[in-house]
């Protein structure tokens, strides 16, 4: 698939920017996102290719402007809905709940 994820050789993306003493996770939500993905993946609901394909179907501009674990978030939401684990209305209800709680 020739999508935005196929970045090899692309020009104009700027310098590599290594961080010294980089932590494994940069924020608590990254820890949770990582664990959610690993845990549902281990459950066998989807395979790694389905997970990656869901990332690769992100809108190109969004793909380039969001962070790595945001890609995971997009993919997990999408793949779980596509697998019938929950529907859009349930996800929206969960969004409304967390918004209310803050």
């Amino acid at each position: 698939m020739n999508g935005i994820h196929d970045l090899g050789g692309m020009h104009g993306l700027g310098p590599v920017d290594p961080e010294t003493q980089e932590p494994v996770f940069h924020d608590q939500w990254e820890r949770r996102m990582f664990a959610l993905l690993m845990s549902t993946f281990a459950g066998g609901i989807y395979n790694v290719d389905e997970f990656r394909h869901a990332i690769e179907r992100m809108a190109p501009a969004e793909y380039l402007t969001t962070s790595y674990y945001e890609h995971w978030l997009h993919s997990l939401e999408r793949v779980m809905m596509e697998k019938g684990q929950f529907d859009r209305a349930e996800l929206e209800a969960a969004w409304a709940n967390v918004a209310e709680a803050t």
């Binding site: 994820h5 196929d6 970045l7 090899g8 050789g9 692309m10 020009h11 993306l13 700027g14 310098p15 590599v16 920017d17 290594p18 961080e19 980089e22 494994v24 996770f25 940069h26 924020d27 608590q28 939500w29 820890r31 949770r32 996102m33 990582f34 664990a35 959610l36 690993m38 845990s39 549902t40 459950g43 609901i45 790694v48 290719d49 990656r52 990332i55 380039l64 962070s67 790595y68 945001e70 978030l73 997990l76 939401e77 779980m80 684990q85 929950f86 209305a89 349930e90 996800l91 929206e92 209800a93 969960a94 969004w95 409304a96 709940n97 967390v98 918004a99 803050t102």
Partner: protein
């Protein structure tokens, strides 16, 4: 869905993850204790110190090194390191003639059992784009001086095959113990963006 009010995702990414977690918990698709255990494992137990032990052993034990190059997955498992994202390992050896560099142009494939989770720059667009088209420039930016007579080999990882670089043993380390040698082996030296012992 007439009359259904569309809800946008929370703009705060942390809240959006929280919402997903609460939904998955509610559905019984994940368990809180398991999530905590996964974080603990990858934040504290699996990381480049594992790979450093593999490299140090290969430096001091020629027979182990031969096994590591011939059947990497098994040789790495001998030291207790195996599992997801490292089921099919390939080890590429740096020599005075050849310098190896790892990338995953399509995403973030990386040998988790020996190196842990990849750093942000490895997963970010600039490295993925440039490592394959101008590896020497990238190496220079990382402070790795590669002579024109040295061949640079770039390995593009896949979901199936994960690479690890066996860096060159630094000069003047003949008297060091295995543990002291392992301390010279950094994450970047096993990706190829540094030499072992490089400051």
């Amino acid at each position: 869905m007439a009359g259904h009010d569309h809800t946008d995702p929370p703009s705060d990414i942390a809240l959006r993850v929280k919402a997903l977690e609460s939904l998955l918990l509610e559905k019984g698709l994940v368990e809180a204790e398991t999530l905590d255990a996964i974080v603990e494992l990858y934040e504290h137990n699996i990381g480049p110190k594992n790979g450093a032990q593999v490299v140090a052993r290969a430096w001091i034990d020629p027979e182990y090194k031969a096994r590591l190059l011939a059947d990497p997955t098994s040789a790495i498992a001998e030291l207790g390191f195996s599992g997801v994202q490292g089921e099919d390992m390939v080890v590429v050896e740096n020599t005075p003639e050849v310098h190896n560099l790892l990338v995953c142009t399509l995403c973030s494939c990386y040998p988790w059992p020996v190196l842990g989770l990849p750093p942000v720059w490895y997963k970010a667009a600039p490295y993925r784009a440039r490592a394959v088209s101008e590896p020497r420039s990238v190496l220079e930016e990382f402070g790795v001086d590669i002579g024109d007579d040295v061949e640079v080999r770039v390995w593009d990882s896949t979901a199936e095959v994960r690479y690890m670089v066996l860096p060159e043993r630094p000069d003047g380390t003949e008297d060091l113990s295995e543990e002291e040698l392992a301390a010279l082996v950094t994450r970047d030296s096993m990706i190829g963006t540094a030499r072992a012992g490089q400051e």
